[in-house]
Subunit: 206 residues, 2 copies
């Protein structure tokens, strides 16, 4: 039932479940228990059952979960059962890496437009997409129905790009720039911050 608010922690685990289930499906494994999943994903089985139970009764007592059925369900929950058009700003090294990294294509996230501020980058081809100038951002993402924006520009530009995404009607943003960007409440922002990730790792060194 969607009446209970689903916590962010739960939502973040769903893609992890999905990925592993996809692997199982490829190996023609038809059924999986929360126990199995827990061992493989380093998670408590009770937590996995509880996470899934927020969205429905997907398992069978005494049996476990049907792999393909659960895949279908999680994809529906995550709303990636249809293609989601994504745009990316910043055709630098990281931007190019993300464009070429089409692993998410099979999960219906499709980068349909790439933009860069630099005239020298405009017109370049990345993975069959021509880099467009920033001035075309708003009209292009509206035309292409872009729903998620990815930011891979330097920190100094990130807020500006975010503003343009919001103006263009994007509903969510994945920000790789090392800065906290501010957007209206109804826009969802995730920060992919590997400098922070790396630094927090250092804490655990002896």
């Amino acid at each position: 039932m969607k009446t209970v608010k689903i916590s962010e922690a739960v939502v973040r685990r769903l893609p992890i479940y999905l990925r592993f289930l996809n692997e199982l499906s490829k190996k023609n494994v038809y059924t999986v228990s929360s126990q199995d999943l827990g061992v493989k994903l380093d998670l408590n089985p009770a937590q996995i059952r509880k996470d899934l139970a927020y969205f429905g009764e997907f398992g069978k007592k005494g049996i476990g979960y049907d792999v393909d059925y659960l895949i279908e369900k999680i994809r529906q929950i995550l709303k990636i059962d249809k293609v989601i058009p994504v745009a990316l700003v910043g055709a630098g090294n990281l931007g190019r890496a993300l464009c070429n990294y089409n692993a998410y294509l099979k999960d219906n996230m499709k980068i349909v437009a790439v933009f860069d501020e630099l005239e020298s980058k405009v017109g370049e081809s990345i993975n069959n997409l021509k880099v467009k100038p920033m001035r075309e951002l708003k009209t292009t993402i509206q035309e292409l129905n872009v729903r998620i924006g990815i930011i891979t520009v330097p920190a100094t530009e990130a807020q500006n790009v975010a503003n343009q995404f919001v103006e263009g009607g994007v509903e969510a943003i994945l920000n790789f720039a090392p800065i906290i960007i501010k957007v209206p409440n109804e826009i969802r922002v995730h920060h992919a911050d590997f400098t922070a990730e790396l630094q927090s790792l250092a804490y655990y060194l002896d």
Copy 2:
């Protein structure tokens, strides 16, 4: 006092504080309150004070925190007050992006070696580093005292690379491959998983 166990959530916020403090310092701001920090970083001021108080009394009542002093302290806490040698495996797009992205250099994380399995990649130069073959991994990281390993290879190779890192004596791993890797308990692993990040964003679309 280090007797209390510091939670992961706290450690993950420290780099965020640090980054913003660095910005303030560059702007010649000498003092900052938990209030100020909270507004800028979208965090509760009490939480910030509590986070910092785990490690000492860094502030002055009625005044706030001395920016440069707090920077120094957080860098000590994160153990990035001296250079930490890092190695990276996987000279693909993402790997190259991370190598060139030397923003973490100023925070003492230094990529000192890059490896790739493909003979065709070996010998290439990335940001003044020659890509080395995998067979040299163990000896090289031991010679260079590498303490953190970054994995940017395909999922199928990730566990294998992780094992080699562990054998070579690395203490922590940042894994970009979309798979949960298993390592001995004493090794710290963080997963930088932007496919998962992107997919969980989709959940929040209307």
